[in-house]
């Protein structure tokens, strides 16, 4: 949103609106540059996504339906590298105390790496999933992680 705002800075009102909505800026875990969260063509920005952008809290955490959908996505997109229980193989374990990125303890940080990618095989899943799907997969990942 912020990017759109800068590009369209002539439209001052739109900018103001976006700022007053208090959307958080999400940043690449690699170099802290802002991530472009403009929806892909045809992507629906759900209430959950809107809420997440304002609060940085994943509204799907602990919601059984979303977790179940997130599990399906995890099996399809994450399990190959992080294993079904999250213990890791090609990608690091998601369930140990040790993290490559301490940021993933927060929902915003977890979103930043899944959406924006890390190094090597940890690609930006913005290329494969909608932001709503990413929130769901995050909700499932939280169920694997140690409390």
């Amino acid at each position: 949103m912020r990017v759109v705002c800068v590009l369209a800075s002539a439209v001052i009102l739109a900018c103001a609106a976006s700022v007053s909505a208090q959307e958080l800026t999400f940043r690449s875990i690699i170099d802290k540059s802002p991530l472009d969260v403009t929806p892909k063509p045809g992507e629906v920005v759900t209430d959950a996504v809107n809420a997440f952008r304002r609060t940085g809290q994943n509204p799907y955490t602990g919601k059984a339906d979303a977790v179940a959908q997130g599990k399906k996505l995890y099996i399809e997109y994450c399990e190959s590298c992080h294993m079904s229980d999250g213990s890791g193989r090609m990608g690091p374990s998601l369930i140990e105390d040790y993290h490559v990125y301490e940021e993933i303890k927060t929902d915003a940080g977890l979103f930043e790496i899944v959406f924006g990618g890390g190094f090597g095989a940890m690609q930006p899943f913005s290329k494969r999933l909608s932001q709503d799907e990413i929130l769901k997969v995050m909700a499932y990942v939280r169920t694997l992680m140690k409390p």
């Binding site: 997109y77 090609m90 190094f119 095989a121 690609q123 290329k127």
Partner: protein, 475 residues
């Protein structure tokens, strides 16, 4: 072979050591001499990854024609070769489209992520004869690997049309494939004008066919053939191939022959063999300057290895697979395995996250699959082999350190994607491609997010307006 010869030579030449040039690369004879991550290249190069073009479907290879046109040819796994113009534009019509040449469907088998079209090589006299060679997994031949030649029509330099393809095609080699992985892939002409073919061990894991140590199969080899033959002769065996006469019809003599002479008789040995004991030499590159050869041999569960041959090599090197991987034993059972060291050692090796079964996971300096990118002679590098990793996105430089008289291996950067292949461009810069095509997440050769083509430039040559990858530079 090379190992024992080199040893003999070293022993005989002992008193001469002082007059031998100190800068000469040697091939390690002891595991301690093999470079591992943590070293420093003499010129401490600082590199950046500059984007050349984006929007390639699962790029698996890259090449240049060497005709001065400045074009870059990106190989797409599905079976297409795309032309990238010097200003970074991808031409919409493929240079070659093997998905269209066969009226019954694609010519290329892409069912598994290691299958597809891997490589295109331009004949050293391409400018005159228009010959290009490709290497791919064939659908009609049930996954066999095929090397075929096509001829570019001078009137259509950027596109070999379907008609032209079918009119000009010449099959050079068809090697049946037992399993769906470990094909190898790259083909390239050496400084000697011969075509070299990286051919994997045929797959599964552990080399169940023992292809690595067997000489009677084309699998698990670097092959070397002469393609300058009449059109009705597929290829010829270069007379100086190490096993060219190992299984040659001859009279049997039992007397007056040395034991060394007998040992050269190897019944069933394939004369196309240049080097053996390789697991999956997907990428190998000649140094454009010296003609020396580097091979990135993809390892199994724990280690990746990089091999080196000076241009003066006579071939016949055994790189040890499936008895060794790198300096390690295969199968690997623990941290302190012991086993005989077979053949020639690599110059460098690097570990996976688990360097041995059950090892604590490494958090730094690891990879999973070595994809050689090319030999660099710029930016402080002098015959440095650049290797990109398919999992960790790390780029390693491997270079001979004259001062320390040993090979060095240094992590030069970590990229936010997986490398598949590379080559040097016409100016000598190393090009690389990346692909979003890791095994289980693979959605088919045209359904993954597109990959891109990059150039490894010295950081101080990055000009304003160039798009660079977000990389992590070592401290």
């Amino acid at each position: 072979m090379r190992g024992s010869k080199a040893l003999l030579f070293a022993a005989a030449a002992m008193p001469l050591v002082a007059v031998m040039p100190a800068w000469g690369q040697t091939i390690p004879k002891k595991p301690e001499e093999v470079a591992r991550p943590g070293g420093k290249l003499p010129g401490n190069p600082k590199l950046a990854l500059v984007k050349v073009a984006d929007g390639l479907n699962d790029p698996t290879g890259v090449s240049v024609a060497g005709d001065g046109s400045g074009r870059i040819f990106a190989v797409e796994r599905v079976g297409r070769v795309k032309v990238i113009t010097p200003d970074g534009k991808i031409l919409p019509e493929p240079f070659l489209d093997l998905t269209k040449t066969n009226p019954l469907g694609s010519e290329v088998q892409t069912g598994f992520v290691e299958q597809g079209l891997w490589s295109i090589a331009f004949h050293p006299k391409f400018k005159d004869n228009g010959y290009v060679f490709v290497h791919y997994a064939s659908l009609p031949f049930n996954g066999a690997s095929i090397v075929a030649r096509y001829t570019v029509d001078k009137a259509s330099p950027n596109q070999i049309t379907k008609d032209q393809a079918n009119k000009s095609v010449k099959v050079i080699m068809n090697v049946p494939q037992p399993y769906y992985n470990h094909y190898g892939g790259r083909i390239a002409f050496g400084p000697d004008g011969m075509l070299y073919i990286g051919r994997g061990d045929g797959g599964w894991e552990g080399d169940p066919l023992n292809a690595g140590q067997r000489l009677d199969t084309l699998l698990a080899k670097l092959l070397r053939i002469n393609v300058d033959t009449a059109d009705d002769v597929a290829y010829a065996i270069p007379k100086d191939n190490p096993f060219a006469r190992a299984d040659y019809p001859q009279m049997m003599s039992l007397f007056g022959i040395t034991e060394e002479g007998f040992s050269r008789i190897k019944i069933g040995a394939r004369p196309e063999t240049w080097a053996y004991g390789l697991r999956n030499p997907y990428m190998f590159h000649f140094d454009p300057k010296s003609g020396d050869l580097f091979i990135a041999d993809v390892g199994q569960n724990h280690w990746e290895e990089i091999n080196y041959q000076p241009r003066s090599s006579k071939g016949g090197e055994n790189y040890g697979w499936n008895l060794n991987m790198g300096t390690k034993c295969h199968p690997m059972k623990g941290a302190n395995d012991t086993c005989p060291q077979v053949g020639v050692l690599p110059i460098a090796e690097y570990p996976h996250q688990e360097p041995y079964p059950g090892a604590p996971k490494l958090t730094q300096g690891w990879g999973c699959s070595a994809q050689g990118l090319g030999v660099a002679n710029y930016g402080g590098m002098d015959k440095a082999y650049l290797v990109g990793d398919w999992c960790s996105g790390r780029v390693w430089g491997i270079e001979w350190d004259k001062g320390a008289s040993k090979w060095q291996m240094q992590e030069l950067m970590q990229a936010p994607f997986q490398f598949t292949a590379g080559a040097t461009d016409e100016k000598g810069y190393v090009l690389a491609v990346n692909c979003y095509c890791f095994y289980l997440e693979d959605k088919g050769p045209v359904a993954n997010p597109p990959g891109a083509l990059w150039r490894l430039l010295p950081a101080n040559e990055v000009a304003p307006g160039m798009e660079t990858a977000k990389v992590k530079l070592p401290n």
